[in-house]
Symmetry: C2
Subunit: 481 residues, 2 copies
């Protein structure tokens, strides 16, 4: 008789315990094929459980094919289980990855070093203040769509996004960013990263050249490279991508730019250069991807209009995100697509994940349409403007003659260039030893070696932390030569 | 003097109207480069607006590079804008898609025909009843994470998913589905479709063979094919994939199966066949992808344990979704990965979209951990069980001698096979003319020609609609020969 151990205090109900132990015995070969099992009454008595418990376990094992009853003879471990690998050593599975898979592992490794303990003062990028967000409004908007009679939750949404949100985004972008588009051109994605991925899959063949800014947005670079693209990096000046330096023989079919506020160095591309970029794209038959990642967050005067708004050929794909003004965990971004790209993009989005969750899209649509978005934006501009001023003052005071600071007209971070002699990696390590996390600038550059620099995000820190962080940074910074 | 038209009743503030009209005049060439603009005072008087309005518009145009002031001379349209394509005809952009992009458009076109008007009785798949879901509980769980002091919303989540949700899924799957895994093996995705996409990118090289069931889950087929895989379709019997029919020379590195409840034909793969499949995978060095899309929704007795639970080599990737038990618009699914695939998959997920939204993940984690999930599942099993019984009875009564019906032990749809002489496409059209939407079976088959069949989903209909829908279907169904 097989020995069962029933724990009456376990979370697992008794029949599952019986089932699991018999199953393990069959799979391990302890109960080989064709073995007769004891009658339920006998096994129940031996295990000290009710007979119905064993009956239920047998029924489950029979349903799953582990045992079978034979009329007039009893219950047996199923025959034909001899393919069971029970006696053999397991042969652990080792995946053979595709080239894409191997590169994804590789770039993932270099892009995201293990962070270790949380730093005391974190100048990391992409942080935000949970307490700044109007949760009462957000909760009310979500609750509106959680009513039981609303069919929205019960169906798959459109892969292009929730139409009222697409309309609200189109209206907002026309009003605030000079983007000219219909709601049909707006497609909702799960953040900018997904936009890069789908665009790369649709448009980049292995070996294709892509014009990019350096320093630039390395997460987009990574995706372009993963799809086999060759990056042509043009070192930016204070007016963004130097369009007149695009090599004459360059056959790029895509240019990736941040004209409103160059990432990460700051600076705004002037109109003449924008028009020259569009003329280049027209001559080349190329597409321009405009990442307007923080165009909303301009501190002095009004936001500059988007490049998309001066394009008359439909050569600009415009990208935006809700991560910075709302919150990153929302995972929503949007694109404005030239009409011929709408269908390919939406079909691809449908194939890769069917579309974004409807509930949050509906709440964001109302958040924009009812004016909360722009109200919150004004609040953030004022508040982050104060932090930016604190950071600028602290940098001037503590590091004034040792660094050059990027333009600070917009955005949530500053880039600080050091003298050539400074060891960037050592600076990052020493700052960390003083409880201050800063981003090294080298990974954002395509130049080898990159000029020593740091990125300081200020969106997750209050003014005191900013000042204290810069003070500590100055302590580890080498003196001016 | 340029003519401005200011609408005082427009939503747009006056300075934006001035700005927009001047900008348009500059871009169109009406105001060519170097043209002197009137002094703000004169233009304001002519347009009937306050002077500050024109000052503001000029400031914005200057910031964007459209105009420039020259000391002592006035304000001029910027020089160097001659790259402006204003006079030329626009050269509309025509994207040159990659091979992947062209195929995505093509399969998208065939997979999603335009539906037209909403049918009166919709036997579509993947529908659910909004009113069945416990919204009060869901609202309470969401609200719990919407407090202002919670840092969760303010940061990017882990690309692998929210750890408490991964733990809750691991516990649930161990308890209910016989899956053996640690929380670290569970990765949260935006639905099963994303799981297929990332697995295909990681594992399938062009030309690789993939073993699939036919009829089968065509949306997975589509993604495998998009990545250049060659599908080896084995016609299923009532016990799922006939493992002994895998061609001897087949070099597939992936098999895609639905062993708990074959999609769409029904039937459960018995243990002996499961072990044979694992033995094949071991001999072949292959991976088995187990899609347990509706294993939770079994009506008679307990759910059958997952294939993953009898695998000792770590060759099974297990997939599940919350779309059916919770609601589709949630857009959350999960995988259980063999340990060597965890890092590649999570890196890829990070690269393609950074991870799923944290808020809903947190709410679902509590929904499971606090017992709501299994309570709701029991409720759905009873309720859908009644609908299933109504459908089975209606089919027997109205179409009994004209069709063969798939096993109905689980799931939310039934597959109905017709006599060979029946024209499937015509049947679908005639049903539609009677207000009844049914899915043609052919697209789920790899066989050419496919045996005539229909899929009837019953998860979006009440019992009266089910009975009436089958009655109407019987009217258009050809009589038995």
């Amino acid at each position: 008789m097989i020995q069962l151990t029933i724990d009456r205090h376990a979370d697992e109900v008794a029949y599952r315990q019986v089932y699991r132990q018999l199953r393990a015995a069959i799979l391990s070969g302890e109960l080989p094929p064709e073995t007769q099992l004891p009658p339920t009454r006998d096994l129940a008595r031996a295990a000290g459980v009710a007979r119905v418990t064993v009956v239920e376990a047998y029924r489950q094992l029979a349903a799953e094919g582990f045992i079978e009853s034979r009329v007039g003879a009893g219950t047996f471990v199923a025959a034909g289980l001899n393919a069971a690998p029970a006696d053999d050593e397991p042969v652990p599975f080792r995946p053979r990855l595709t080239e894409w898979g191997r590169r994804a592992v590789e770039v993932g490794r270099s892009a995201r070093p293990a962070d270790g303990a949380r730093p005391e003062i974190d100048f990391g990028l992409g942080r935000s203040f949970a307490e700044l967000f109007p949760y009462d409004v957000w909760r009310r908007l979500l609750a509106r769509y959680l009513s039981t009679d609303d069919a929205m939750l019960s169906r798959y949404g459109s892969p292009a996004g929730f139409l009222p949100l697409r309309q609200a985004v189109a209206d907002y972008l026309g009003r605030a960013r000079g983007v000219r588009c219909a709601a049909e051109q707006v497609v909702i994605v799960s953040g900018a990263q997904q936009a890069f991925d789908i665009l790369a899959r649709l448009l980049l063949n292995p070996g294709d050249e892509v014009i990019v800014e350096t320093p630039g947005y390395r997460d987009a670079f990574t995706l372009f490279q993963l799809h086999g693209a060759r990056l042509v990096g043009l070192p930016v000046d204070d007016e963004g991508l130097p369009v007149d330096r695009i090599p004459a023989g360059c056959r790029a079919r895509l240019a990736f730019v941040t004209p409103t506020h160059q990432f990460p160095k700051g600076g705004t591309m002037p109109l003449a250069r924008r028009l020259a970029l569009l003329a280049w794209a027209r001559a080349q038959g190329a597409l321009v991807v405009e990442d307007d990642y923080d165009g909303d967050l301009r501190y002095d005067g009004h936001s500059l209009a988007a490049l998309q708004g001066v394009d008359s050929d439909g050569r600009v794909v415009y990208l935006g995100t809700f991560s910075k003004v709302l919150f990153p965990a929302l995972r929503l971004g949007y694109l404005v697509l030239p009409p011929p790209l709408i269908t390919p993009f939406v079909r691809a989005k449908d194939l890769v994940d069917r579309g974004a969750p409807t509930l949050t899209q509906a709440a964001v649509a109302d958040f924009i349409a009812e004016g909360h978005f722009e109200r919150h934006l004004r609040y953030l501009r004022r508040l982050y403007g104060e932090r930016r001023a604190a950071l600028a003052a602290a940098l001037a005071r503590h590091l004034g003659n040792r660094v050059r600071v990027s333009p600070l007209a917009a955005g949530l971070h500053v880039m600080v260039y050091a003298e050539e002699a400074v060891d960037e990696a050592q600076l990052v390590r020493e700052a960390a030893a003083h409880g201050v996390r800063v981003q090294p600038g080298a990974p954002y550059h395509l130049e080898r070696p990159a000029p020593p620099s740091l990125l300081l995000g200020f969106s997750g820190l209050d003014e005191n932390e900013i000042v204290e962080g810069v003070r500590r940074l100055a302590e580890v910074w080498p003196p001016a030569p």
